[in-house]
């Protein structure tokens, strides 16, 4: 029984991690194709990736879009959550539902809608448009995380702050934001990873300046190469770093 459970565990991790492991291993492939057999390690492809100006530009674009759209999502989500915490409006539940609703719609559908809306208001496909698209998909997530972190103790502290003469801006910046700082960080980093990995919306809403997933996709069209593996490994590395930071922040909170 014991052996079976360990085998199950190993199998499960293999299932989850094998694709990534393969990707990373063959990014070091000394040869032209990222397929077995493994011919020995080289950093050649990484050197090539880092020297590729288009790729590096795309990496910079992705970073910019992810940072900016995450910051905006967290800010808007925070304000919305704070608003719901303050006043019980008629139809609060319905309004909350409406804010969270986009989470249930596929990115493809949202992307199509955005493409038409962006055209309609006369905004050209661009990084800006992509950033807006990422706010659309990440705002519901940020709102859900932040609204869940505002409970009775926070509301009570907000009441006390107002009672002591704090204005709304001071209430939010001096009391609410520090009290839910770990959740703000969690919302930010999750938004960041989603924006960083997002392809469909970026594909539909960019034209000349593209984000990294779109650039990788255009590389894939000319066939497999260890170079795409190397890019993929770099993207994966950034995501891992973000997730580890997030875990550390949340664990620190849990340990308190």
């Amino acid at each position: 029984m014991r052996i079976l459970s360990w085998a199950y565990l190993a199998l499960m991790f293999a299932f989850i991690l094998l694709p990534v492991a393969v990707l990373v291993v063959f990014s070091f492939q000394d040869g032209r194709l990222p397929v077995p057999p493994f011919k020995g390690p080289t950093l050649e492809w990484y050197a090539k990736v880092l020297a590729d100006r288009d790729l590096m530009a795309a990496l910079g674009n992705s970073m910019l879009v992810a940072l900016a759209s995450s910051a905006v999502s967290v800010l808007l989500g925070f304000l919305a959550a704070a608003g719901f915490a303050r006043a019980r409006l008629p139809g609060s539940a319905l309004l909350r539902g409406l804010i969270i609703a986009p989470m249930t719609v596929s990115y493809l559908i949202i992307g199509l809608g955005l493409l038409q809306a962006v055209n309609w208001i006369g905004l050209r496909p661009s990084l800006m448009a992509t950033g807006i698209g990422h706010v659309v998909i990440n705002l519901p997530l940020c709102f859900a995380i932040l609204a869940a972190s505002i409970g009775a103790p926070q509301q009570s502290a907000l009441r006390a702050a107002r009672d002591l003469g704090a204005g709304e801006r001071q209430v939010l910046s001096l009391v609410l934001a520090p009290m839910i700082a770990p959740s703000l960080a969690a919302a930010f980093f999750l938004s960041f990873t989603f924006s960083w990995d997002e392809f469909i919306i970026a594909f539909l809403l960019t034209r000349f300046d593209v984000t990294l997933p779109v650039e990788i996709w255009s590389m894939l069209r000319s066939g497999l190469s260890p170079e795409t593996n190397a890019v993929g490994a770099l993207v994966f590395l950034v995501s891992v770093l973000v997730v580890v930071t997030l875990e550390l922040l949340l664990f620190r909170k849990a340990a308190k």
Binding site: L164, G165, A166, L174
Partner: protein
């Protein structure tokens, strides 16, 4: 800093439920008033109305003679000490206590100095740099008090602040609250459902029930001369005897009693029933007795109405054998009508 509070014909409704029904109440400057009643009686609603967290459906609230009915908590000369203390967990005690003055735009040096002064008053000056989670319940409570008083409010509102403390600490905090109130002279309005706490600290007790004020008076008045059966029963244990006038006295299930004629319920506190006193309650048999430290709590069955039980608190070491028949006497009777 202190001010009077005037509640004029205030009514408050939550959707279909009427929490307060045309309340009128005057609170003098510097008074320690306790709003006392069971849960759901409207006492916390009344406190929230004075603090500005709710706006009354009807009526007016005046603080220091100024109409505050539609002024928010931020601009009222009131502060509240909340039941859960509502301290800011990410700030040191000094910053917690200094928060109100900081919001009033005072320089850091000023509000730090005032915060230290207030922390000193509640005996926590040595912990000024700590954060609230490092404190015990009683200490948090003191910080909440210091924070609320640091802005020198005219009126301090206390929302069941002692509810979460154990009995011993609660008694100690009651004494401290009373002493601090005397010292600062601020009007205190305190909400509780504990009648002993009310009697321990109040200058005046407002007994509330079902959204109305049942009785408003000093602890002695409310306890000894209750105006309604509800406030009589809420303030402490009662023996009740239905009576109606008969000649110079009243007629009761125990037979005629020599008290001033009246119809309704004759109320006798257990400590006013004993082996001597103002008027006879007739012979009774002791059925049960328990030692309570300060007194013996005894149950008597009157011979004239053996199904009734009278509860008496007899002095230490002075109770008869169980089963013994003695003549009981009563003192300080109050006759109240059922619905008042």
């Amino acid at each position: 800093m202190t001010a009077d509070v005037e509640i004029r014909a205030v009514e408050h409704r939550f959707e279909s439920f009427t929490a307060l029904q045309r309340i009128d109440l005057q609170i003098a400057a510097g008074e320690f008033v306790v709003l006392l009643g069971p849960s759901g009686c409207g006492k916390t609603t009344l406190l929230s109305l004075i603090g500005g967290f709710l706006t009354p459906s009807e009526g007016q609230i005046l603080i220091g003679g100024r109409d505050m009915t539609h002024v928010g908590p931020k601009l009222r000369p009131t502060t509240t000490m909340f039941q859960d203390y509502a301290l800011f967990p990410h700030m040191t005690l000094r910053d917690n206590v200094g928060f109100g003055l900081r919001m009033r735009g005072r320089a850091r040096r000023d509000h730090d100095a005032k915060a230290m002064e207030m922390l000193d008053m509640v005996g926590l000056a040595d912990k000024a740099g700590r954060k609230p989670h490092a404190l015990s319940g009683g200490q948090r409570q003191r910080v909440a008090l210091a924070r609320a008083l640091a802005v020198e409010p005219d009126v301090l509102l206390l929302d069941e602040p002692l509810g979460a403390l154990d009995l011993k600490l609660r008694r100690q905090m009651q004494d401290e609250l009373k002493a601090i109130q005397r010292r600062v002279g601020t009007t205190f309005v305190h909400v509780t459902h504990d009648q002993e706490e009310a009697m321990a600290i109040a200058d005046r007790i407002v007994v509330m029930n079902g959204g109305r004020i049942e009785h408003c008076g000093t602890p002695e008045e409310v306890y000894l001369r209750p105006r309604t059966l509800f406030s009589a029963a809420f303030m402490g244990e009662l023996n009740r005897l239905p009576v109606r006038p008969a000649g110079d006295g009243v007629d009761s299930p125990l037979g005629p009693l020599a008290v001033a004629p009246g119809a309704g319920i004759l109320c006798l506190r257990p400590e006013n029933v004993g082996l001597q006193g103002g008027f006879s309650l007739g012979p009774a048999r002791l059925t049960e007795a328990a030692f309570f430290g300060a007194h013996h709590r005894c149950h008597f069955a009157p011979l004239a109405a053996p199904e009734l039980r009278l509860v008496a608190h007899l002095p230490q070491g002075a109770h008869p054998e169980i089963g013994a028949e003695v003549e009981l006497f009563g003192r300080d009777p109050v006759i109240l009508t059922e619905a008042a």
